[in-house]
Amino acid sequence: MPEVVVPIGPHHPALKEPVNFRVIADGEKIVRLELDLSYNHRGIEKAAEQRNFIRVLPLLERVCGICSHSHATAFAKGVEEIMGLEIPPRARYIRTIIAELERMHSHLLWLGVAAHEIGFNTLFMWSWRDREAVQDTLEEMSGNRVHYGMNEIGGVRRDLTPAQIKTALARLPDLEDRIQKYVGMVNSEETMLIRFRGVGKMSREEALKYGAVGPTARASGVDYDVRRDDPYLAYDEIPWKVITDNHGDVYGRTRVRVGELWESTQIVRFCLENIPAGPVRVEAPKNAPEGEILSRYEAPRGELAHYIRTNGTDKVERIDIRSPTLANWTSVAMCLTGQNLADIPVIVAAIDPCLSCTCRMVVVHRRGGRAVPGTAAGESGHDPKSRQDGWRP
C-alpha cells in the first residue's frame, strides 16, 4: 500500500485541544510524523509583564486548567525566593495539600482519558466519577473546582478550618479504596494490558536524550522528581517515595501514575493530620529586588520551570514558562515512529499533553505569511527550512 497522509488535528475527536500531526502511514504502520504545535498562543507571558505580582498570580493560574495551582505556586515560590521571604509552615502545608489534590485529580482525569483512547469507556466513566470526590474537596477548601486562587506572594489566601480538614479526611478512605482498585486494574485488566504493553516504548537513554520529564521519564526508569531532588513546600518533611518503573511503555506510564495517585493520597493524609498551627501568610513587600531565578516545580505532568527576572519594580521584567508537555513532545514523536496507526491516540495521551500550556509564541514568516509554530524553547523557529514541515525524527 502506498504511503498515505492521515491528518490528525487541529480538530479531531481524539484531541481536546488543537495540535496538528500529519501522520505518514504505510497501511497501519506509522512511517513518519510531522508535528505542528502552537495553535493556542494567548500572549500570557507578555501579559504577565504588564501586571504587578498580585495580578499576575490569577493570570498564571489560567495558563492551564488542570495544573493551575502548579503555575501559581511555581511563580509565587520564585518571587518569594527573590524577595527572600520565608512563608509560614501552615501555608507550606496548605499549598502541598492543594498541589497533591491537584495531582490526584489530574492523574484520575488522565487515567480516564487513556482508557477512552483505547475505547475502554467504563474506566473513563469510573475514574471521572471518583475525580469528583477530589474536586469536591478542592472546592470546599478553595471555593473553586479549577482555578483555586489559593496562592499569594507570602503565603495562601485562605486558611483551612478544622471542619474542612475533617470532611477532607472523611473522603479519603473511599478514594483510597478506589485507587487501590485502579492499581489492581492496571496490572490485571486484560483489555488494558493488551493495548498498553509494549506500546510507545522508550528506553532510559532515549528518555534522557529527548529530555522527557515527569511520569513519562519515570516510567522509563529515570529516577527524578523535583519534589525530592530540589525540595520545595513541605515535601522534605513528609514520608513519601518517588514511583519509577522500568517498562518504558504506556503500561509503565500508567503504573507510575496510579502509583503516584496512591502516594498523593498518603501525602494529603499526612499533611491534613500534621498541619502545623500558625498564620497562613506573611506581609510581602510591594516590589521585588533585582534578580533572576529558575523556579522548578513538579507538576502532575512533570517538571515545570518558570524563569523569572525582576528589576526592582512590582512587575516581572521577563517570565518564561516551560511547561512539562513541551519537554515531552519530542519523545512522543520519537515513540510514534514504527508504531501502529491505532496507537497514536494512546501514545500521545500517555504524556498527558496539555497543549494550551505549551503554546508560547508563533513566528510568522514574511515570505508566504505562513505561521510557523514556535514555543518557549522554539529557537529553531529561526531556521525556516527545518521548521517548514514540523518536527521530523
Binding site: 491528518p7 475527536p13 475505547g119 475502554f120 488494558m192 491505532a342
Partner: protein
C-alpha cells in the same frame, strides 16, 4: 399459511417490519441503558433511539465533493433492506412461513451486507478516515466471518437441516444446542459482537483514531438508515443465535391452544434475545478496543481454531450417533 392476508401481516406488522423496528429501537435503548448503568451513568430515556432516528431523518444531507450521490444514497437502503429481509426467515413466535431448506445460508449472506455496505461507503467517501475505516471493516470481516459461519453452520450439521425453523424444531425434541455445542455458542456470540462492530471490535469506527471510520461522511437520512440497519442487525443476529442455540421460540411441549403456543413462543423469543443482548452489552462495557493486528492474531489463532474444533466434535458426535 399461504393466506395472502396472513403473509402481508407477517411481513409488515408482526413479526415483520413494524415489530422489528419497534424492537430494534427498544434493544438499542436497552443496550445504552445497561451500558450506562454499568458505567454509573443515568442513560437515555426510552424513546431516545426513535427520537434520534426521526431527528436524523430530518437533517440536511451533505454530499461530499466528487461522490456518486445516487450510489451514496442507495447503499444504506440496500444494507437496511438486506437486514430486514433476513429477519423474515428467523422464527419469532413460531416457525417462519417463508422457511425453506437453506434459508440459514441466505440469512448469513444477507447479514454480511451491512459490513460490505460500510466498506463501500468508506471507499466512496473520498475521505482518508472513511477509507481507512472501510479497509478495516473488510479486514475485520475476513477475520470474524469464517469462525462465525463455522459456528452458525455446525448446528445445521447436527440437526441435519439447513433451515433455521427445522433446527428449532429439532431442538424441541433434543437438548438445546448450547449444551451440545458450547464452544460454537461462544464463538457465535463473539462473531455477532464483531459483526455489529461493538467494542472490542469497533476497530472500523474507532472514534479516537479515525473519527467515525466509514460513517464520517454520512449525514441526514443516510446516517439514520445506516444506524437503523445496525440496530436491526442486532435484533436479527440475536434472534438467529437464540433460534440456533437456545431453542428459539419453541416450548418443549405443546400447549392446548395454538394462540397460547404462539404467545409462549413470543415470550421465549423476547427472553432469549434479551439475555443475548445482556451478554453483548456486558462485553461492550467490560472491554476496550482491540487493534486490527491483535484481532488478526486472536481471530485466526483462537476463535477460528475453536470453531474448527467445535465442527470436528460435531462431526464425530454425528458419526458415532451419540445424539439420535
Amino acid at each position: 399459511m399461504s393466506d395472502p392476508v396472513f403473509i402481508f401481516l407477517y411481513i409488515f406488522v408482526f413479526p415483520g417490519f413494524l415489530f422489528l423496528f419497534a424492537y430494534a429501537f427498544f434493544l438499542a435503548y436497552l443496550d445504552r441503558k445497561i451500558a450506562a448503568r454499568m458505567q454509573q451513568r443515568i442513560g437515555p430515556p426510552i424513546f431516545q433511539p426513535l427520537a434520534d432516528f426521526i431527528k436524523m431523518l430530518g437533517k440536511e444531507v451533505i454530499d461530499p465533493d466528487g461522490v456518486d450521490r445516487r450510489l451514496f444514497d442507495a447503499i444504506p437502503v440496500i444494507a437496511l433492506a438486506a437486514v430486514m429481509t433476513a429477519f423474515l426467515y428467523v422464527p419469532v413466535s413460531g416457525a417462519s412461513p417463508f422457511a425453506f431448506s437453506g434459508d440459514l445460508v441466505l440469512v448469513l449472506y444477507l447479514m454480511a451486507f451491512p459490513t460490505l455496505a460500510l466498506f463501500l461507503l468508506g471507499w466512496l467517501s473520498r475521505n482518508i478516515f472513511s477509507a481507512i475505516g472501510g479497509i478495516r471493516a473488510v479486514t475485520q470481516l475476513f477475520i470474524y466471518e469464517v469462525p462465525f459461519f463455522l459456528a452458525i453452520l455446525t448446528p445445521a450439521i447436527m440437526a441435519g437441516s439447513w433451515s433455521i425453523s427445522d433446527i428449532v424444531l429439532w431442538q424441541q425434541h433434543n437438548p438445546w444446542l448450547v449444551f451440545l455445542q458450547p464452544i460454537g455458542f461462544v464463538v457465535a456470540l463473539i462473531g455477532l459482537q464483531a459483526k455489529l462492530e461493538r467494542t472490542p471490535f469497533d476497530i472500523p469506527e474507532a472514534e479516537t483514531e479515525i473519527v467515525a471510520g466509514p460513517w464520517t461522511e454520512l449525514t441526514g437520512r443516510r446516517l439514520a438508515l445506516m444506524h437503523l440497519a445496525t440496530e436491526l442487525s442486532l435484533v436479527t443476529g440475536s434472534a438467529l443465535i437464540a433460534a440456533l442455540f437456545l431453542g428459539g421460540p419453541m416450548l418443549p411441549w405443546v400447549l392446548p391452544a395454538p394462540w397460547m403456543n404462539a404467545a409462549a413462543g413470543f415470550a421465549l423469543f423476547l427472553a432469549k434475545t434479551l439475555a443475548i443482548l445482556l451478554v453483548l452489552s456486558s462485553i461492550t462495557v467490560a472491554t476496550g478496543r482491540l487493534r486490527i493486528d491483535q484481532l488478526n492474531d486472536i481471530g485466526w489463532k483462537y476463535i477460528a481454531s475453536a470453531a474448527l474444533v467445535q465442527a470436528g466434535i460435531v462431526l464425530v458426535i454425528n458419526y458415532l450417533w451419540v445424539v439420535p
